[in-house]
């Protein structure tokens, strides 16, 4: 360690006052298991396009068949060969576990000037930047300590805040989303919503977090160990068993899932519609509208996969055109997955985990479980302010189903309102950027580099836990 950089003495006298306060610029990383949502917070609240500085970067190191390695945003540039892509993710179960990989991706996406997408997304000098880093709730203390030490000792950020990701959503403008009269003036300082029940259904798990004035109520946080990854794997397993072997095609199956899956509002009705036994000759197909074809991507022709209505006579047509010799080669080479009940039984496991034998409750039950440890006076206000974020919120029918189920099991005196923000994936980032404009509030919770050097990482851990 002969290379330890001495603190420049000339600078320290001038920075003495400044080091006590947080640096002006705030960089926010919502470090998800699937994608990182990262970017500088705007100086003040912009009226339009508040998400323009937020960048979504795959949080992974991927390897193709040909042993080419892609890091983070290189995947956005669409490598041509998506087949049999393998992934290494630094975030496991929602928490940063492997810092070796995470450092590589961060360096690649935020620090290295050769690879960062553009100058606005680069952290040029961490010393003059405050970092806001999100974590999943109920993190292991040792992983929290690792994160603090890496941020402050590897990169040396000037200011740092590590906080529970879902709670940041409370800083968003949720009043208009729920149709409430806006209580604060538009030019007033940004403040968090008073009570918000955040359901965060992400890649690794689904959490329920009641947030009171921007702070999570720790005793009521509950987690369902199912997320988007499980849905993709479940769909992959079904398709591999019933149609083509897709076990190595995680990336493609994820795209299939995003294209075709929906949450059914009446599973037995949809099940009957897709059953082969109900298909009769000379009658309209009952599966019309539910059963679809997904045309798999063709890397040789450079074509992407897409969904289209199911064509039951596709096979016959193909054979016929071969015989007559008039069909083009492309129609013959295309591979089609026929998706019927897979479309809705896959997302169904989020609501009924017992479908795959899991002994945990579904999302709506978990919301009540979470509320049951809170004073009953809080139940009505949380049930009336349920916000769903995370990638799974984009599955069609998710909101309606959750609203219906919650309505059925909640007390009839309570209003139940389930809403989804415009961009559920970047909602936590947006909330953090609004928090960053409220300097006083940020100062209260964040730590400066100097404080860290004085007190060390265990103090930082206590500070972020609210114990100091």
């Amino acid at each position: 360690m002969g290379t330890t950089k001495p603190r420049p003495p000339a600078k320290s006298s001038t920075t003495e006052a400044r080091a006590r306060s947080l640096p002006e610029k705030t960089f926010i990383i919502d470090n998800g298991a699937y994608t990182m949502k990262a970017g500088y917070a705007p100086e003040s609240l912009p009226s339009e396009e508040p998400l323009s500085t937020c960048n979504t970067i795959p949080n992974t190191i991927a390897k193709t068949r040909g042993n080419r390695i892609y890091i983070g945003s290189q995947l956005n540039a669409q490598p041509t060969d998506l087949n049999e892509m393998m992934f290494r993710r630094p975030v496991e179960k929602g928490y940063i576990v492997n810092w070796e990989a995470q450092k590589e991706i961060w360096e690649h996406s935020f620090f290295d000037e050769k690879t960062v997408r553009s100058k606005e997304f680069r952290i040029a000098s961490p010393e003059e930047t405050t970092l806001v880093l999100t974590e999943a709730p109920n993190a292991l203390p040792v992983l929290q300590k690792n994160a603090d030490e890496m941020v402050m000792e590897e990169w040396g950020f000037g200011g740092y805040l590590r906080c529970v990701g879902p709670s940041l959503n409370a800083w968003n403008e949720v009043y208009s989303l729920f149709g409430d009269p806006i209580s604060q003036k538009p030019d007033a300082v940004v403040s968090p919503a008073e009570c918000l029940l955040v359901v965060d259904s992400g890649y690794s798990h689904t959490t329920v977090t009641p947030v009171y004035k921007g702070q999570p109520l720790q005793r009521a946080i509950r987690r369902l160990d199912l997320g988007g990854k499980h849905l993709t794997n479940y769909l992959k397993e079904m398709v591999s068993m019933r149609q083509y072997n897709m076990v190595d095609e995680t990336y493609i199956m994820n795209e299939v899932k995003e294209a075709v899956c929906f949450v059914s509002d009446d599973i037995s009705r949809d099940m009957e519609r897709t059953w082969k036994g109900n298909r009769k000759r000379d009658q309209p197909d009952p599966g019309e509208g539910v059963v679809v074809d997904y045309v798999l991507p063709d890397p040789n022709a450079g074509k992407k996969g897409f969904m289209r209505p199911h064509d039951p006579l596709l096979g016959a047509k193909k054979r016929k055109s071969v015989l007559s010799g008039e069909a083009g080669a492309e129609a013959l080479s295309e591979d089609v997955l026929v998706l019927g009940n897979e479309r809705f039984t896959v997302p169904e496991i989020l609501f009924t985990p017992s479908d795959i034998g899991m002994k945990q409750a579904g999302i709506s039950d978990i919301i009540l479980q979470s509320l049951s440890v809170l004073p009953p006076g809080l139940h009505p206000v949380f049930l009336a302010n349920v916000l769903v974020v995370g990638g799974n919120a984009l599955i069609p029918g998710f909101m309606e189903r959750l609203q219906t189920e919650l309505r059925q099991i909640a007390t009839s005196e309570c209003t139940v309102r389930v809403r989804c923000p415009e961009d559920p994936i970047r909602s936590a980032w947006l909330g953090a950027s609004r928090l960053a404009t409220n300097r006083d509030e940020l100062k209260k919770v964040a730590i400066t580099r100097q404080e860290y050097q004085e007190h060390g990482s265990s103090w930082a851990g206590r500070k972020f836990a609210g114990a100091v």
């Binding site: 360690m1 290379t3 393998m86 992934f87 993710r89 961490p126 005793r219 479908d355 795959i356 206590r462």
Partner: protein
């Protein structure tokens, strides 16, 4: 009723040949070696099909582990080697021992979680041995390693234990301190109705004075059922609680028991019949034929 108790001393475990071990209950790892199925099952659990056999349990656990995978195969993806040393930035040169240790660590989440559990159970055990000795025989740190346990009752029991033990032991983790200080103002446990406290906390007398009295005031049918909001002091107490552990935050089993649904393993329709050899569900004879021909017994 008698019981055998292992007193904590240094000589009790060196007897060769045998030892007392804590019985951790159902262990899927061991159950896989001697599956409890066979002809005698009807005698062992006369209740019939109410509970899953351990073989089915293992199949479910294996399936869930399968769904949790990142890639189908185990692959090692190395970090690409950089040609040029990143000397461009001033701060890049230094690495502290902490960061070097973190970067070189190859631990997985599972390893970290096991460490955490061991740490928690150790603190529970040391405090228990300081406490009256009747506690020491309890399997206090019993935590199953299955991914689907930890009902709520267990977590609250643990919470209670933490707060009780923190009063006995002086040297404690920092995260238990706030809880100890908050115990007087703590909200009731989930199994006790919280209404009385919530009502005493807010000040109802001031409101009641303003109401116009009438003869129907005490009519139980007209009473509002919506409880009042808790006081600010209680909210502060709630906010200052330490986070639950990873396992304690896992959601419990459903409160409202619905009939389990089964799906056909071939086509995904309702699983109405079972294969008599491998107990896999099928929707009808058509799918059963496919199953019998191709994959009967292959996946269990």
């Amino acid at each position: 009723m008698y019981h055998i108790e292992l007193l904590p001393n240094s000589t009790s475990h060196i007897t060769p040949g045998w030892t007392y071990v804590p019985d951790p209950g159902f262990d899927p790892a061991k159950a896989a070696i001697t599956p409890a199925i066979g002809r005698k099952r009807g005698i062992r659990d006369p209740g019939g099909r109410g509970d899953l056999s351990s073989r089915e349990n293992n199949a479910i656990i294996r399936h869930l582990a399968e769904l949790d995978r990142e890639n189908h195969r185990d692959v090692q993806i190395p970090i690409p080697v950089k040609q040029k040393e990143p000397a461009g930035r001033g701060t890049r040169g230094k690495t502290t021992t902490n960061t070097r240790r973190i970067l070189q660590s190859q631990k997985t989440f599972r390893n970290h979680l096991d460490d955490e559990e061991a740490h928690l159970s150790q603190t529970a055990q040391t405090t228990a041995s300081n406490a009256p000795p009747r506690l020491s025989t309890k399997p206090s740190a019993r935590r199953s390693s299955t991914p689907m346990t930890t009902p709520k009752a267990e977590s609250t029991a643990k919470q209670r234990k933490q707060s009780s033990s923190s009063s006995s032991a002086a040297a404690q983790q920092q995260q238990q301190q706030p809880q100890q200080s908050e115990t007087p103002a703590e909200t009731p446990k989930p199994d006790t109705p919280a209404e009385p406290i919530a009502e005493t906390e807010t000040e109802p007398p001031a409101k009641k004075q303003r109401l116009i009295p009438s003869e129907y005031d005490n009519d139980p049918l007209l009473r509002s059922r919506i409880p009042s909001a808790p006081s600010e002091r209680m909210m502060q107490a709630l906010l200052s609680e330490p986070p639950l552990s990873y396992n304690a935050a896992r959601a419990g089993p459903p409160v409202t028991k619905k009939a389990p649904r089964f799906f056909c393993c071939i086509c995904g329709y309702w699983g109405k019949i079972r294969c008599r050899n491998c107990h896999v569900r099928m929707c009808g004879l058509g799918c059963y034929k496919v199953h019998e021909d191709s994959r009967c017994g292959a996946f269990l």
